[in-house]
């Protein structure tokens, strides 16, 4: 592989061509060796078999459980954390969702919450998002899910609050110091790619069953975006501004508080947005350890395969996500606008208006505290039931209409694409696949990426679930391929037409925030319990990000270039293939990277619908004590796959584009 890397490095002009040739050569060599060595040293492990490592994980887990009442680490550390977080959540719950403080209803009833949501959105955003917030929250009530929604909101707010409390200082530190940044990045990667199912059961061991564990599970997933984006924000403050401040005699602290923080405020707000979205996407999974709220409704409905009710609750999560997303985005824009504009004449009018609005909101809160009609949401007007029935009949109709067609597609993709690829990966000797991965990594991403791949391959072998990893890798690769195809088609379309963009974007948002548990049942009906079902579920989740990134990339191609090509007589097809796609290559690489990471994050969900392999191992580890260690190992394997591909694609992106493209923090 060193030879391959060297061969690829020198002559700049022919570099891309030669790299392609080298990769092709590697693949051909792999196929030849596969034919000769098929079925040997595949490291296959049966579903119930364990390795020593897995048993060791089990024993660690057991000994923690056995000593939790005597261990000082528990008594003085974990228990204290649990107490603080438990109290925080219960406090917020008693404010908006659960009867508390000796009252039969929460302190603030629905009218108060709606008024506050509207007022806060208006104060930090604008009047349009305020209207959206009010409409959205009222809709939650009309769905008949007011209390569940407020429970979800309470949990989300607590998790986001603690995430920011930890994340913003850490992010600032990482923004100021390269060393800290380098040190925490692997941990953040780990926190985001490790499947939640893996740490759900151990969390209840450390923090007991209840809101604290659910909040901490959410927190682990939601804090990294806040840290990353804050660090990114601090870093992107122009160096000249900082130097100017320093030359005027600012101390470090003054530079931070007077220059760096104010200038990065807008990006930090974006981090808050991403953290909220991440927290909301954990709602259904946290319900598996008794987290209150909408997730519970979804999970319960699935026990009886009640698609309608699950969809109704899922829709509530989507509505909440859209409201919170738009409000925080508007808040970010306002911060930006205010920074640019400075003190204008608007401020004179704004203050009295804000005070009047505040007084009105306060009255609403008081009424909702005092009067029953304003405290309990009055009826649901049958909206929830109607949504559930409609979802049910649409699902039934889809199943009846497309049943045969979908099986055809499934069988075609499975036999033509998935099976050959899976056979190649799982039936080649492990060392052969390892060498191929390292070599391809080195050719595409340079020696550093090659070294990362080598470490990841070694660790994958050590986890004892190599064969399952390769099965998962095959499905993941096919899913990513489909995601990229969709991404290019829809992304280019959206990038070229703002109208299409406006039409498609809401369904992309829904695809990202609708809990995957909701569409599992209809997909099972359409495609059966198969690997293909898992692939489709992953595509639904991953395609939106990819499409959005590619659309942004295509839109960023200078209009002048496109016009020049049109003037030169290029057809639309030529413009797309010769101008717009090549010029947005960095966006394409980023889209592949994000598509793959998102697909990997759905591996566990895939395990619930027939994908087997790593996803099943993780789910099994969560369900059965003796498989706990294996589940943990499988979770680690997913992380390793993620790290390996992230590093290779990132390095490849840096090598193919001399000028860095638009950096998309936080996706």
């Amino acid at each position: 592989m060193a030879v391959a890397a060297d061969a690829a490095a020198p002559v700049r002009a022919t570099r891309r061509v030669s790299r392609r040739v080298v990769v092709a050569a590697i693949v051909i060599a792999w196929l030849v060796l596969f034919a000769a060595l098929r079925g040997q040293q595949t490291l296959a492990l049966a579903a119930a078999d364990l390795t020593d490592l897995h048993r060791w994980f089990n024993s660690v887990n057991d000994s923690i459980g056995a000593s939790r009442n005597s261990n000082p680490l528990f008594l003085y550390f974990f228990n204290e954390i649990r107490l603080v977080i438990d109290n925080l959540v219960t406090f917020i719950q008693s404010l908006i969702s659960q009867p508390g403080a000796g009252r039969p209803v929460p302190v603030v009833g629905w009218l108060g919450v709606v008024a506050l949501a509207g007022y806060v959105s208006w104060a930090f955003g604008n009047i349009r998002v305020a209207a959206l917030a009010v409409a959205g929250f009222v809709f939650l009530g009309l769905q008949g899910l007011w209390q569940e929604s407020m429970d979800t909101l309470a949990l989300t707010l607590s998790a986001v609050f603690v995430s920011l409390l930890i994340g913003i200082p850490l992010g600032i530190w990482a923004g100021l110091s390269d060393r800290v940044n380098r040190a925490i990045t692997p941990f953040l990667d780990f926190m985001q790619t490790m499947p939640t199912f893996v740490y759900l059961a151990p969390l209840t061991l450390f923090f007991l069953i209840g809101p604290a564990s659910a909040t901490i599970a959410t927190l682990i997933y939601a804090a990294p975006p806040a840290i990353r984006i804050t660090a990114h924000a601090i870093r992107s403050v122009p160096a000249t501004t900082v130097e100017a401040a320093e030359s005027l005699g600012s101390t470090r602290r003054q530079t931070l508080t007077k220059v760096l923080l104010p200038m990065s405020k807008r990006t930090v707000v974006m981090g808050v947005n991403q953290t909220i979205m991440a927290a909301l996407s954990m709602v259904t999974i946290a319900a598996l350890i008794d987290a209150p709220g909408l997730g519970k409704t979804v999970v319960k409905a699935l026990q009886t395969l009640d698609v309608g009710v699950a969809f109704n609750a899922g829709l509530a999560i989507v509505v909440m996500a859209i409201v919170l997303d738009r409000v925080t985005t508007a808040a970010g824009d306002r911060v930006e606008a205010a920074r640019k504009r400075g003190a204008g004449r608007f401020t004179k009018w704004r203050r009295p208006l804000l005070m009047a609005g505040g007084a009105f909101a306060a009255v609403c809160v008081w009424m909702s505290h005092t009067y029953v009609w304003a405290a309990r949401f009055p009826g649901d007007a049958g909206v929830g039931g109607a949504i559930a029935r409609t979802a049910d009949s649409v699902t039934l109709w889809t199943q009846d209409t497309f049943g045969g067609l979908t099986n055809g597609t499934r069988d075609l993709i499975t036999t033509a694409l998935l099976n050959p690829f899976e056979t190649l990966l799982t039936e080649s000797p492990w060392w052969l696949v390892g060498v191929v991965l390292v070599a391809v990594g080195a050719v595409l991403g340079g020696w550093r990426a090659g070294a990362t791949a080598a470490v990841c391959v070694a660790l994958l072998v050590a986890t004892g679930v190599w064969s399952d990893s390769m099965t998962t890798l095959a499905s993941t690769a096919v899913a990513t391929l489909i995601v990229m195809l969709l991404g290019v088609v829809a992304g280019v379309w959206m990038g070229r037409s703002p109208l299409v963009d406006r039409l498609i974007r809401p369904s992309l948002d829904a695809g990202q925030t609708m809990p995957s548990f909701v569409y599992l049942v209809p997909f099972l009906a359409l495609f059966g319990a198969t690997r293909f079902t898992a692939i489709i579920a992953a595509v639904v989740f991953a395609a939106p990000v990819t499409i959005k990134i590619i659309a942004d990339g295509v839109r960023a191609v200078p209009q002048v270039t496109v016009e020049a090509a049109t003037a030169a007589g290029s057809s639309t097809w030529q413009i797309i293939t010769k101008v717009q796609l090549p010029m947005s290559r960095s966006a394409l690489t980023l889209a592949t990277n994000q598509g793959l990471i998102y697909v990997l994050s759905m591996v566990v969900v895939g395990g619930l619908v027939g994908a087997g392999a790593l996803g099943y191992d993780v789910v099994a580890g969560f369900s059965q004590g003796q498989l706990y260690g294996k589940g943990l190992a499988a979770g680690l394997a997913i992380v390793l796959l993620g790290v390996m591909f992230d590093r290779i694609t990132q390095a490849a992106a840096r090598r193919t584009t001399s000028a860095p493209g638009p950096r998309q923090a936080g996706h």
């Binding site: 007991l208 069953i209 009906a525 027939g610 004590g625």
Partner: protein, 333 residues
């Protein structure tokens, strides 16, 4: 410590806030009115607990369990005036909760000898509280249309004859045998191997996957064979037919690698935490005395799963119709 801090500061803060709001909003409010919170008797606070106190009941994620739990919770709340806290948890996590005091009772347990060893024998945080009266059947099932058209399929010896019909995109050139949720007790991989069946075990990964597969198979007359169990609400929708494996004899499943016989019939039982058993709570006596039949459970499960009643309403309906049984549970033993 910190908890006290938060709760202490809250009333004071609220009072100040309310006072402020009251001044601001007085004019607006005099116009409207309505019942005030806490004014009428209609708001029944949950605090009216008798000597029973709090009863933490785990809810494992299947409807049959939910039926047991709903009835026990209903009786505990209405007859014993307990404050019942239901916790939605998977088995493994629920058993963990015995030691930490978060869970008092699991009211439908399927075997789980590994968990019994860990928590009852080794950690001594849990104790068995007797059978629920339900008989658990685990086995291999086919949709009714298939058993009707090919009656000999219910004998395992004929399974190889039909293997080709069960082929799917997941099973290669073998027949597919569908397995479900990983928390289920299964020997299927060993069974296929030891009975020399030309099948591949495919892991559906969830109960939803199994039910959906059987539901589709019956509707479209397609071929599916897989793992299932009774009592289960879905059987009242599609009455799956059991395939007879070599009969179970005591000890024939002792070696997990060499199993070549059917699953035993499970005596489903109840597990409670040691603390709860020693507490003298009337809820413990209720859990201990609780027994009913598969028909009883199926009925309540049907109310919940198909008639879409809330668990409380379903429990009330059954309890009202079966007062004698409930009274027997409430008698001091």
């Amino acid at each position: 410590m910190i908890g006290n801090f938060i709760t202490q500061s809250r009333p004071a803060r609220r009072r100040a806030a309310v006072a402020g709001l009251a001044v601001l909003g007085l004019a607006a409010v005099t116009a409207c009115g309505g019942a005030k919170v806490g004014e009428s008797g209609s708001d029944k606070a949950g605090g009216a607990s008798g000597k029973c106190g709090t009863f933490n009941l785990a809810i494992n994620p299947w409807v049959g369990y939910e039926a047991n739990a709903a009835v026990i919770a209903y009786v505990a709340e209405n007859d014993l005036k307990c404050q019942v806290t239901k916790k939605d948890l998977k088995e493994e996590v629920a058993w963990q909760g015995f030691g930490t005091g978060e869970v008092d009772a699991v009211v439908e347990n399927w075997g789980h000898d590994d968990l019994k060893k860990k928590y009852i024998t080794d950690q001594k945080t849990a104790v068995a509280a007797g059978a629920t009266g339900n008989k658990g059947v685990i086995g291999w099932f086919v949709p009714p249309w298939l058993a009707k058209e090919h009656p000999d399929i219910t004998d395992w010896k004929n399974l190889n004859k039909y293997a080709a019909n069960f082929k799917t995109s997941e099973s290669g050139d073998k027949g597919q045998f569908l397995d479900g949720d990983p928390s289920f007790v299964t020997n299927d991989a060993a069974l296929v191997k030891n009975l020399k069946l030309n099948y591949k075990v495919v892991y559906g990964g969830s109960e939803a996957a199994l039910i959906q597969a059987f539901r589709q198979a019956e509707a479209k007359k397609s071929w599916v064979i897989g793992y299932f169990y009774a009592p289960q609400w879905f059987l009242s929708e599609v009455d799956l037919v059991k395939v007879n494996l070599p009969a179970y004899k005591a000890g024939c499943d002792a070696d997990a690698e060499k199993v070549a016989c059917d699953y035993p019939e499970y005596e489903l039982d109840k597990i409670v935490s040691k603390k709860f058993a020693d507490s003298g709570s009337p809820a413990y006596d209720l859990v201990k005395n609780f027994t009913w039949t598969n028909e009883d459970q199926n009925l309540v499960a049907k109310y919940i799963a198909e008639d879409k009643m809330t668990p409380e309403a379903a429990a009330k309906k059954w309890v009202d119709a079966n007062r004698a049984k409930v009274d027997a549970w409430l008698k001091k033993s």
